[in-house]
C-alpha cells in the first residue's frame, strides 16, 4: 500500500446496515496486520437520520475520523447521501454508490439531478444496480455482505482477513451463505 493511511467513508440511512458492514471492514483491516479505527455516532441522530461510519487503517492511525477531501473511497448506500457527504471525497477519490433512493420523512419529491451532479463532479464513479446484484446472490438477507464484496475489489486486503472478519460478525450458521454473497459481490464489481 502506497499511502500511510487508507480512509473509507460509508454513508446511508438508519436501518441500512452500515454499522455491521463497517465493523466487518475494520476487522478485516485489523486481521491484515494494520492499525485500524472506525468512528460513528449512536443515539438520537440514528432515528431514521443520515448515518455514517468513518473507517481508517494503516501502519499507525491517529484520528478515527476522516478529514474533508481525504476519503480514498466514499461508499454510499443511498444516492442523496452520496451527494451530502461528497465533500469528504477529493479529486482522486473513488465514489461508489448504490442506485437506491429513500425519501426523508416529510419530503414529497426526491430531488432531481443527483446522478448528473455525481457524474460531473466525481473522477471515478461506480454506480451499483441493486436489482442486478440481488439476482446474483441467493438470498437478499445477505445483500450487505455482497456489497462488502464489491468494496473488497477496491481495497487491498487479503481474502483470509475478510473471511475471518465475516465469520466473527455474522450469526453462527450463516457464514457459508454470507461468504457466497461476498464472493458474488466481488464478481459483480
Amino acid at each position: 500500500m502506497a499511502k500511510a493511511v487508507y480512509s473509507i467513508l460509508m454513508v446511508g440511512v438508519g436501518g441500512q446496515g452500515i454499522i455491521l458492514a463497517s465493523d466487518i471492514l475494520t476487522l478485516a483491516a485489523m486481521h491484515s496486520g494494520y492499525d485500524a479505527k472506525k468512528s460513528e455516532i449512536h443515539g438520537m441522530s440514528q432515528r431514521g437520520g443520515s448515518v455514517f461510519s468513518h473507517i481508517r487503517y494503516g501502519a499507525k492511525v491517529y484520528s478515527p475520523t476522516i478529514s474533508e477531501g481525504e476519503a480514498d473511497i466514499l461508499f454510499s448506500l443511498e444516492e442523496m447521501e452520496t451527494l451530502r457527504w461528497l465533500n469528504y471525497a477529493g479529486s482522486g477519490s473513488i465514489v461508489i454508490t448504490l442506485r437506491t433512493q429513500i425519501k426523508p420523512a416529510m419530503v414529497e419529491e426526491y430531488p432531481e439531478g443527483i446522478e448528473e451532479e455525481l457524474r460531473k463532479k466525481c473522477g471515478a464513479l461506480k454506480y451499483l444496480e441493486p436489482e442486478q446484484l440481488k439476482k446474483d446472490i441467493e438470498n437478499v438477507k445477505f445483500f450487505n455482505v455482497a456489497l462488502l464484496g464489491v468494496l473488497a475489489e477496491y481495497v487491498n486486503l487479503p481474502e483470509d482477513s475478510w473471511k475471518r472478519a465475516i465469520e466473527e460478525r455474522v450469526p453462527r450458521g450463516s457464514f457459508e451463505d454470507n461468504f457466497k454473497a461476498f464472493q458474488a459481490g466481488r464478481k459483480y464489481a
Partner: protein, 533 residues
Amino acid sequence: MDKLLLSGNEAIALGAFEAGVRVGTGYPGTPSTEILENLTKYPGVYTEWSVNEKVALEVALGAAITGARSLVTMKHVGLNVAADPLFTASYIGVKAGLVIACADDPNMHSSQNEQDNRNYACAAKVPMLEPSDSQEAKDFTALAFELSERYDTPVILRSTTRISHSKTVVLPAPEPRRDREPARFERNIKKYVMIPAYARSRHVEVEKRMRRLEEDANNLEINRVEMGDESIGIITSGISYNYVKEAYPEASILKLGMVFPLPERIIEDFCSRVERVFVVEELDPFIELRVKAMGIEVEGKCHFPVTGELSPDLVRRPLQALGFTAGKTELQTLQNEVQLPPRPPSLCPGCPHRTVFKTLHKLGLTVTGDIGCYTLGALPPFTSMDTCVDMGASITIAQGIEIAEGKDREKHTVAVLGDSTFSHMGLPGLLNAAYNKRNSLIIVLDNGTTAMTGMQPNPLSGERINGEETVILDYKKLGEAVGIQSGNIAVVDAYKPGEIEEAITRLVETKALSLLVVQGLCVILRRRRGRRS
C-alpha cells in the same frame, strides 16, 4: 493474546473486568450506555441499571466502602444528578476502588448541552483520567482503580463520544484479577459519617491527598512528552491528541493522561523547551487556564473553538494561519451544488408515541416535554412540544407555567415523559405537584423500555439488566398514593387514537392533577422480540 477491535465503551468494561471489578451500576445515556451493557456479560460481576445516576453512585459507593471494586457509568449530564453524592464521596473515600466512567458529548450528538465534566474533577477534588483510544480506555480504567485505592478517593474516567463510540485495536491483559471474595463492611464512623465534626477532618485529608496527587502526577507514565520540532509545543489530551498527531505530526507534544490534577513540573519543563506553546482541548479552556495560572504564556481558545468537537482540520487551519506550515496540507474537496432536503431524525414508522403527539398537536395545549426519543415530538409534523430541559423537568416546568399564568389561563399544561424518565426523576415532581395542589395533566408514554439509548429495561419493564424478571411499578396505586383521585388516573392503548383523545380531553376538563399512561411497546423492541421467538 489475540488483538480485539473494541469501542471505547467495550474497552472500559473489559478494563474494569480485568481489574477485578465486582459491582457495576449506572443509568443509560448516550454515549456511555454500552459500558454497563458489556460489563454485564462478564462472569462474577454484579450489574444493575439503577433508577438514576445519584442512586447508581450511592450504590457503588456503598459497595466500594465495603470492599468491592465498583464502577459507575453515566453520560455527562448524569453527573449533574450524581453531583450530590460525588462531592461527599470525595471526603469519604473508598476501601476498594471506585471509578466513575463518565462520557461527555461535545457537539451534542444526543444531548441537551455540551458541558465539560473536567470541571467536576476540580470542583469535587477528585482525580480525572482521560484516554485517547480504546487501548488507553482499558488501561486507564485499571489504573483508575489502583489510584482510587492508593489515594483513597473516587476517580473519574472521562470519555467523549469519539472515544466511546470509536472502535480501535486493543490487546487484552493475559490474566484478569480473580480475587472476587465477598467483602465485609467494617464500621469507621469518623470516615463514613459526614456530620460536620467528622467532615471537617475529612476535608483536611482531601486537601492533603490532592497535594500528594499533584506531586505524584509528575511521575505518572500516562503524562508523557513526545519531543519534535522545538518551535511549536502542544499540550493536549483525550481525543484531541489524535487530531494534533494527524494535523501536525512534527510538533512537540505533551500528552496528558491525567487532566486533574495537572503535573506542574512536567508542564513547566515542557514549556521551557519549546518556543511557542498551544493548548488543544475540546470545549472549555480547562488546561489552558490552569497553565496560565502557573504564570506560563500559552495560547488556546483564541485559536481553537470553544464549542463543538475538534477535528484534524480545526487544529491544522489555525496553526497554518499562524505560519506553522509543516503539517498536513489543505486537501481539494468535491463540492455538491444540488440543493438537498435535510434528513433529520424522526419518530420511527409505527412508533407508539405518534398518536399522542398528533392528538396534542390537534388540541393545541401547552406541552412540557422531557428527555427521550419522544423529544422528536417537537419537530414537524407534530411540533407539539414547548419545553425540554432535563430528566423529569416536564412535570415540574408545567407546574411553574401554571403558577405564573394564574387562575384565568387559557390553555391547560400537559407534561409528557417516557417510562424510564418517569422513574428516573419524574416521581419527586409528581409528588410535588400533588402536595402543592397543582392541576396539570401528566402523560407517561410507556413503551416498555429506555428506547433512545438502545432498549435498556427500567422499573416499568418488569425485567432487570440481565433479563431476570422483577416487579413492575403500578401506576394506579402510585397515583393514588401521592393523592391523585382515582377517577383522574387512566391507562390507554397507544394505538387507539379515539381513546387517547377522549382521555386527554376528559382529564384536561377535570382541572385537577391527573395521570394518563399511554401504553404501547417500542416498535424496535417489538421487532426484536418477534425475531427472537
